[in-house]
Amino acid sequence: MKNPMNRWFPVFVLPTLIAFLIAFVIPFLLGLFLSFTEFRTVSDAQFVGISNYIRAFSEDSTFLPSLIFTVKFAVTSVISINVIAFLLALMLTRSVPGTKIFRTVFFMPNLIGGIVLGYIWQVIINGVLYKFGYSITSNPNFGFWGLVILMNWQMIGYMMIIYIAGIQNIPSEITEAARVDGAGPFTTLFKIIIPSVMPSVTICLFLTITNSFKLFDQNLALTAGAPANRTQMVALDIYNTFYSRVGYEGVGQAKAVIFFIIVAAIALFQLRLTRSKEEEA
């Protein structure tokens, strides 16, 4: 029964395990526990039942609006990013000259960090709005569309690469056979290409949905929630609850638990839904 590999456990697994316990497992369990307590410094935690969860909605006027703002933002960006990325992938898998250079250009923004991206777009958007006597913080709609544009600029290239890989995986005999059978470009697109790239769609939806929900750096740099917290997304709202309001640490942790449950539920639901579409195809 004794596997000779067992004695290598301390070398192969222990370092990762210790780091994982310290960075994730312990903080995660402690966070769950603290969401049911009132505390300032962790060691003074007092059990208060589910009152933090109630306070997150009743006493706190920013949580629900930030959730709604996040959902609107996520729906808008997920659709626009995936549609544009897919169209770009279709164009770049044809015999257009310079496809490599185009790929390089479209992917480039993805490597720039969220804070830097936020300030880049702040200058551009403020420069445009200045001509009309506004700035990005004059109206929450400006911040909303600013975030959507920024997110598109950042994520389109990434998703495009995944769609290109998906399209290139389609065996050319299939598209060739369709052409011989007289299928037009739209029939080919809807009957062959889209069903065949469903695995890529699953991945791209997963990545864009989770990244849109978790957005923080870009939000902090572009608007920091202004005006009056009306462009504040959930991640930033939780951060502000923790670090700029004394006495709300427990509420902040309860919000974080709710946030986690929402993200996990959406991610799992979406994976199940598109996976089933993959099997049909």
Binding site: N3, P27, F106, G114, V123, Y158, A235, Q253, A256
Partner: protein, 276 residues
């Protein structure tokens, strides 16, 4: 002939879009050479005799943010964290894929689970834990990154290891190699393409990460994203000239990294996604 025409039309669209994609970076670049007071109002105007300031924004920005030290800390933390992640998570992934036990499979699923948990869930408790354990310094944060990077990295290595036939490993065992030698001499070379993908994904994340280093070491050490954000937070009004210069300086290393390993990055992103 019809498709030729379509391709020409697509080429025009792609050219226009490329211009849209490059435009923001170009604007930041030209403004980094302009007087700070002529940036906010007229960012789309090229510098002229009156507004051109040479490198003074760069000199001021570097001095105000301590840019060089931020650059060195970013480099130190990214390089060592990525190296540590590759070394340890590849070993862990191989071990828990090859040795079937209840514990190993619980560990694997917990690691996968950690990938979907938003950072805010553990933000407060993790920075407290790091603080209590004395990990709130540039060396300690490497351990934190190993813990946070473990989910994706083990997941990707395991996905590849499952497709590697056992034959080579058994042959090495018969030749008298111990487990450690089998892994580093036989298995790891096979894992190299995955290791490059994992390294690239982690580099992109750690280099640009803001909140984690800000909470864990931000009081004493600034990385590049912290230094850029500090320019905003430190004063009531932002010095737009210095800000533009810092944005350019933050983008340059990323562009160099991208152009030098572009082939691997694009392949890595595509293959990383396929395994997900």
């Amino acid at each position: 002939m019809k498709t030729k025409l379509a391709d020409r039309f697509f080429l025009v669209i792609l050219l226009l879009l490329s211009a849209v994609f490059i435009f923001p970076v170009f604007i930041v670049l030209i403004n980094s050479f302009k007087l700070k007071f002529s940036i906010s109002a007229t960012p789309f105007v090229l510098p002229d005799k009156d507004t051109f300031t040479g490198l003074s924004n760069y000199i001021e920005g570097i001095a105000n943010t301590g840019f060089w030290s931020a650059f060195m800390w970013s480099l130190f933390i990214t390089v060592f964290s990525v190296a540590v992640i590759i070394i340890f998570t590849s070993m862990t992934a191989w071990y828990i894929t090859r040795v079937k036990s209840r514990f190993n499979s619980v560990l694997y699923y917990t690691l996968v689970f950690s990938m979907i948990v938003p950072f805010q869930m553990v933000m407060f408790t993790m920075s407290k834990t790091a603080n209590v354990l004395g990990l709130d310094n540039p060396a300690g944060i490497i351990l934190i990154y190993l813990g946070f990077g473990a989910g994706l990295s083990v997941f990707m290595f395991s996905g590849f290891i499952k497709t590697v036939p056992l034959g080579v490993e058994e042959a090495a065992k018969i030749d008298g190699c111990n487990t450690f030698q089998i892994f580093w001499n036989v298995v790891f070379p096979i894992l190299k393409p995955t290791a490059i993908t994992v390294a690239i994904l982690n580099t992109m994340w750690i280099w640009n990460d803001y909140l984690l280093p800000y909470l864990v070491i931000g009081n004493d050490y600034k990385t590049i994203p912290i230094a850029v954000q500090y320019l905003k937070g430190g004063y009531g009004s932002v010095d737009m000239g210095a800000m533009m210069a810092m944005l350019v300086l933050s983008i340059i290393p990323v562009i160099i990294f991208y152009l030098s390993s572009q082939k691997y990055i694009i392949k890595g992103v595509a293959s990383g996604a396929v395994k997900g």
